[in-house]
Homo-oligomer: 224 residues x 2
DNA sequence: CCAAAAGTGTTTATAATACACCCATGC
DNA sequence: GCATGGGTGTATTATAAACACTTTTGG
């Protein structure tokens, strides 16, 4: 039946928004191949694990995130011959969108660090530049027609925080007033809480939670 | 490094539009497991092949299609433990959108046949029902924000043919007059040819080719 | 001539943009 | 008070939907 077997890994493109830009979590490799170079966090799939289980485990290892509040989805698989000098390795790239959080300074193993996606000099190990590019492209596209932007925010957030996510990911300023009405009037996007929060000067902002909706459905050629 | 190795396969969700509905190309399995049952066409990745190479080769085997004129993209990978009784097999699902074509009655090996996606009774082999559902969902979604619908049409086609594709995939009738103006006024969607074609009675229709555009970009929260 | 399908023009509704203005807080 | 960011109202503009109407063929 077989004849050619693959090792199967899961690599993670973990994105967040901080200081006005998109950032990715990278680790520095300690062992060959590509020792000393930056790479996406990842690991091999264990015997009785499904792909999403592996990704969830790796995400928890790197960020401490468990359960809900973030977004994790499969991105694509990469298996070009020669992409790993050790032999035939297929990696299933995953995309995670998480709030800006304090990374565990993990005494255990290789701790990750946030790197601005826009200005990075050196290339990543393996074909991870390619995987990262695919992940960023997918994230940008998905903000347009889903409510995923809220995954970059903490559990409770203001409309301004959400707006800064869009501005950071797309690199364009948005009109705060139109943005406000757009997101608050989109059914199922935001769930209002009674609480407000005061950010230094200015009127206190209302706090929201993520709503149940996922797709935003702009009309294309459809009839109502 | 490894310890747990996978066989890696590529399975194809080959979709077309015929007689007013979405159809999928299925083969009947001749060997265990699931001998005699319907399944998505597929096969194992060869030693020096990349995933898209395998998918392209399988698509040519099943449909005779080579080169351009159709659409082929990676869908997702499936590797749940136990999905294949023979052992650990990861399959990379691919989605192909092709014109309604005469299938090669392939004397060689298991010939495929078109099956309406809407009304199928028996479940498919392995987790292929799941992969098929993902493929159909992706195809429906992509028609909304890309110009991929033209991949279901032959190299030259009329606006009415293109409209029937949308109507079949979404299951809703569209206004022929508004549809006409929408697609002909969308930059890069259709390239007009000088030729026309007469379909029985009625005014002859102009023939078009696929244009270079891929995304349709409905505005969401963006500023111009 | 009539029926049928292709294609255009025009009106109406709906949604997106621009921007004036009010609200609630810290200092 | 006044600067600052939050939030609402409204005019303008673009786009989508509805549909009357013209065009070009086959019978």
């Amino acid at each position: 039946m077989r004849g050619n077997l693959f090792a199967v890994a899961v690599d993670l493109v973990i994105l967040t928004v901080r200081s006005g830009g998109l950032h990715v979590l990278l680790v520095r490799r300690r062992t060959p191949p590509f020792a000393g170079e930056h790479a996406l966090p990842g690991g091999f799939v264990r015997p009785r694990e499904d792909l999403l289980d592996t990704a969830t485990r790796e995400l928890a290892d790197e960020t401490g995130l468990t359960g809900v509040g973030h977004h994790l989805e499969q991105l694509a698989s990469y298996a070009a011959p020669g992409r790993d000098p050790r032999g035939r390795v297929l990696t299933v790239g995953h995309l995670a969108l998480v709030p800006d959080l304090a990374l565990p300074t993990a005494g255990s193993d290789a701790a990750g660090a946030w790197h601005a996606v826009a200005d990075r000099a050196e290339p990543l190990a393996f074909d991870h530049d390619h995987i990262l590019a695919d992940g960023v492209e997918r994230a940008r596209a998905k903000l347009e027609y889903t409510t995923l932007a809220a995954s970059f925010c903490p559990p409770e957030f203001t409309v301004a925080q959400l707006r800064r996510v869009y501005e950071a990911v797309w690199g364009t300023p948005l009109d705060p007033r139109n943005f406000q009405r757009k997101v608050t009037s989109t059914e199922g996007f935001l769930v209002p809480t009674a609480r407000t929060v005061s950010r230094g000067r200015g009127r206190p902002a209302q706090l929201f939670r993520r709503g149940p909706a996922t797709a935003l459905h702009p009309p294309m050629l459809r009839d109502p």
